[in-house]
Amino acid sequence: MQEMIFGKTEQTINQLRELYKHYGYKKYKMSRFETYDFYLDNRDFLLSEHVITFTDTRGKLMALKPDVTLSIVKNAAGEKNKQQKYFYNENVFRMIDSTHEFKEIMQVGLEYIGHVDLYATCEVLMLAQKSLQVIGLNSILDVSHMGLVSGILKATGLSYASQKQMLKYIGQKNVHEIRALCTAEGLTEETDLLLEKLATLYGPFAKVLPQVKKMAITSCAKQAIIELEQIYQMLQIIGLADQVNLDFSITNDMRYYNGIIFQGYVQGIPKSILSGGRYDKLLHKFGKNNKMGAIGFAIYTDLLDSYEVSSKQYDADIIICYDREASIPTLLQLVQQYADQGLTVWAQQGEDQEIRAKKVLKLTKEGLMNIGSND
């Protein structure tokens, strides 16, 4: 395929949309605004509490959407007992922690709402893996299970505040702080080791799963392990088993997420670009009946723009410099020819190069000459 210079991100987004359409997901188009109290009610679910607000013409406080999942879930809650599959690509507005400035972020994602069984879980995981492959050649998908993590945490008998603290240390793979907190809270050596193990275990399913089996200390944890085993068997069948890792240091809010959660990384981007999981609890908050579940993920495509992995950047593939005596019909034909080949062409009078191109051509009345390349 011809290497494209412009719009690599747009191209990726298009490929992702096509991928999701093939698996029966419908595009979800949402309005730009929601009422502010909607986000206020659910602010724990949002990554940041900061929302851009304004007053609409009727004096109602509105917000520019910081998140898409919430809106999809709210609207899906109206449709009882129906299976719904949506994908979206929408701009969301979020505050960036490091700069304390609002940024418009293009987010692509999908949501599966309805009866989430083993098939649905595997379909979403598979699509997450395929999405990563669309984004970059070398990618990693890591899976965790909130049921296992919160099951083990609850068994410790720690207060909610301490559980949250412990969850944070597990997320940092911070063994020495886990040990310190266990000592301070008077937990047994056995619990301490279990929590340390939870934080540090990392690797392919096949390698890690046998060690996880020893962690079935509560019924909740036991169930989680059974689910992970079933998922592993399915991944083996579709040939994805060695591309997916287990990592229980991936954690998320225990109040919303209950089943598997996962994160994806692509080489060249220092942060997780894909993040998702099973969030039945959020669905139930919106009044969906308890048999329904939801699973989905989002891709932060703004990271693609920031870290686009390309060795050399050009404004165009080819520049054609022509002088006053050059034949305009020949020039027009040449430009058209190159453009039809899928290349980007820039024609200009004179040889002052204000833009960078891979190849510089010169057109005079004698004909076309190659006068330089930047390869």
Binding site: D142, K173, H176, G203, Q267, I269, P270
Partner: protein, 217 residues
Amino acid sequence: MDQMINIALPKGRLGDKVYAMFEQAGYGCPSIHENNRKLVFEDKKNNVRYFWVKPSDVAIYVEQGTADVGVIGKDILLEYAADVYELLDLEIGKCRFSVAAKKGAWIDPEKTLRVATKFPNIARTFFDRKNREIEIIKLNGSVELAPILGMSHVIVDIVETGTTLRENNLEVLENIVEISARLIANKASFKFKNQDIERMRKSLAALVAQRREEANK
């Protein structure tokens, strides 16, 4: 597969001690001892590249993935709350965060407590937990001066030996948290260079354990 590991070290005394540990753990880079102003040092044999950066910037280099791993004081890690893995306590550069005041000073519990510090986040988190109303006075150095001259009631600062406090007639009221140098890693690097980083963590952990044992003898 061996891949180059990029390591950000904090410039200064702590950085020198940290490099000595890496060297002992098998990640030496002889060119680092050359007396020059270069900031980047590479060793092809051990597959490591070191850079010296300002201590408060180590977390940023690691979070952005420019460095795969780095070593940083827990004080800075707490203040910046970077999204990184904290893999190991190197047990060097030990000190603690403390609240200190003028010796024998009476602190009126009915008044808003004025706190002078270089670390506003750590001070705020600590007093928030106690539901104490405070006013932060952010200083950039010589924090000890603030209570002496009556600008603040207390200070929140790093205490190593306590000499500076004693010489300025201040005393520790409360300890907030223990500080030492920590090995941190970028989350994506940890996944893509997992075996290499794990090996490094293990070698360093073994060294830390050995040193602890020797100290206890």
